[in-house]
Symmetry: C2
Subunit: 336 residues, 2 copies
């Protein structure tokens, strides 16, 4: 029996590559918590990743296992969270197809998230139709599971708005409350910068620390971190704002007093980058060692991980299938 008051969470990742510390801070850590408080569905979004990667489909499918390993390694418990592969739930494609009739081209083009992504990718009018319409496919993912909570970054709020607009239009069109509106959950933590100081950590920008990073890779990444370029001598006063090492300490050092003290000392002068970096390195090594070990152990049994995904996918199909059944019945499409 599902607890009627228990929130339902739908979230996930495009399977374009293994996950990194930015994902850990921005979403994975919260998901490990959420699985105790909500019914959580985690989507390995291979179909969505294909919308702008049809030139290299195998990279997308290969990374399904990598992302799943990351999920399990950070502590997502497949008995508490339903991890599933988007392409293996045809109900999502079907629902998407019906929702596509309820949104105009003009509305899709007005979506600020899509606008920004079109700009970033330099698509202009050469945008693949599948990419333009992916907010509809996201709405299908969310509504198929009757998700009530969707964790997002603030740049994705227009997606949630569009999803709820589709829910209202669908329900109006069939004169029945079949689909359920959802609420955005904004991350409570600031976004982790890249090690180069850029606002966003991203594998393609080469400024990320993978969850699977080796001890040496962590050491190197911390050493390469952007700090205060004017903090030349240990005795100089340094800036903490925009200093990646302190942004990371804020994110990963649970001893807040220690961080406050280090910041004060750094600002005054007399604290070298190497000392703060050593502290951060220890913290990251301690965080990532068990994740890496667990990941390596899981990676030795890919069939076992696939079995987990297979079970999750069966469960996901049951839920999405029930919604689709209601959707089709409401549209009169139940013939047999």
């Amino acid at each position: 029996m599902t607890d009627l008051k228990q929130p339902v969470v739908l979230t996930g990742d495009r399977t374009t590559g293994p996950l990194h510390l930015g994902h850990y801070v921005g979403s994975l850590r919260a998901r490990v918590q959420l699985q105790y408080e909500a019914k959580q569905f985690l989507l390995l979004a291979d179909t969505q990743a294909l919308t702008d990667n049809m030139g290299s489909p195998h990279r997308i499918s290969r990374n399904v296992l990598e992302v799943a390993l990351d999920y399990l390694a950070v502590g997502i418990d497949p008995t508490r969270s339903t991890i599933f592969i988007q392409s293996q739930v045809p109900e999502l494609a079907e629902l998407s197809q019906y929702l596509l009739n309820l949104v105009t081209l003009a509305r899709l083009e007005r979506n600020p998230t899509i606008k920004e992504e079109i700009r970033l990718r330099g698509f202009e009018r050469d945008i693949p139709a599948g990419f333009l319409t992916y907010p509809v496919s996201q709405a299908a993912d969310i509504t198929a599971f009757k998700a009530t909570l969707v964790p997002v970054g603030d740049d994705q709020l227009p997606m949630i708005e569009q999803t709820n607009e589709l829910v209202r239009r669908f329900n109006n069109s069939v004169e029945r409350a079949v689909l359920v509106e959802c609420e955005a959950v904004l991350a409570r933590v600031p976004r982790l910068p890249g090690i180069d100081g850029k606002a966003k950590m991203s594998k393609s920008l080469g400024n990320a620390i993978q969850l699977a990073a080796s001890p040496d890779e962590i050491v190197k990444a911390v050493n390469d971190m952007y700090t205060d370029p004017n903090h030349l001598r240990v005795s100089d006063p340094g800036r903490v704002e925009g200093n990646v090492v302190f942004a990371f300490l804020d994110a990963f050092e649970p001893d807040i007093e220690l961080v406050t003290e280090l910041k004060a000392q750094y600002r005054r002068g007399g604290l070298g980058d190497s000392v703060v970096k050593r502290e951060l390195n220890e913290r990251l090594q301690a965080l990532l060692a068990p994740i890496r070990e667990r990941r390596l152990e899981l990676a030795r049994d890919p069939a076992g991980v696939l079995a987990i995904l297979s079970r999750g996918t069966v469960l996901a199909r049951e839920t999405a299938g029930a919604t689709l059944c209601d959707v089709k019945a409401a549209l009169g499409l139940s013939y047999f």
Copy 2:
């Protein structure tokens, strides 16, 4: 065993209403023949009809049975043709989703058929996304069945072009010949005009004769037919061109000599409209009486008709499922 050289035909109708004599002349008659020469799949396109009818979904689903009755009544043999319901073949939605990534928005907007339909419906930028992308869904229908022949009107040639473009793009993208290009088969007969003389017979224009028309409705429709407005007295010479009664005789009177003689006499003068209409009425009554009777008989057993559609849908899913399986394998999306 499938004969490798046997052509595969995919065609069908949007289920927006019962079919009329225009459909009979333009497609149904040919399909009755084709089922002896090809492997024929007949699509009851409810999903596609919904792309611009989300305001009245039940009208679309209700007409699935009506169109199926029309098919069976004109002599389509469900043991020779596979009649199936589009919405009940989820594989089509899935395939559609992948093809959507291979076409740009600009390309979809350039499609002349879509351009014309946007104009006709007054959509402009308020075009539903599902309607704009329906050529992709059509391409999915065609390619899912590896159809080699697709009967179309000349206004639909751009659809076939777009389908073959998608086939080439998909095959290039996965470096394998998974999907098959198709060929358009243009109708060999001229389009039947409406009884008011307008170029197109259409239920919504109110100028159609339904296949299920009663004897009285046929008499009335023939009496209402547009002839030559200058042919006032029987003795006047009359025009045969643009004269609906003669267009119908061309389409339905197998005795070509008789039609030639009637035309000559009409042109000379001395042949009244009422005489030609009486001739046409007899011909149409003779054509439609057995169709109507068979239709009435079938309509008494809707469960029996649904059983036919259910069997056809199972067969259609087998074929479309096999293609989708190849498509997903080629994309690397076969995990379990």
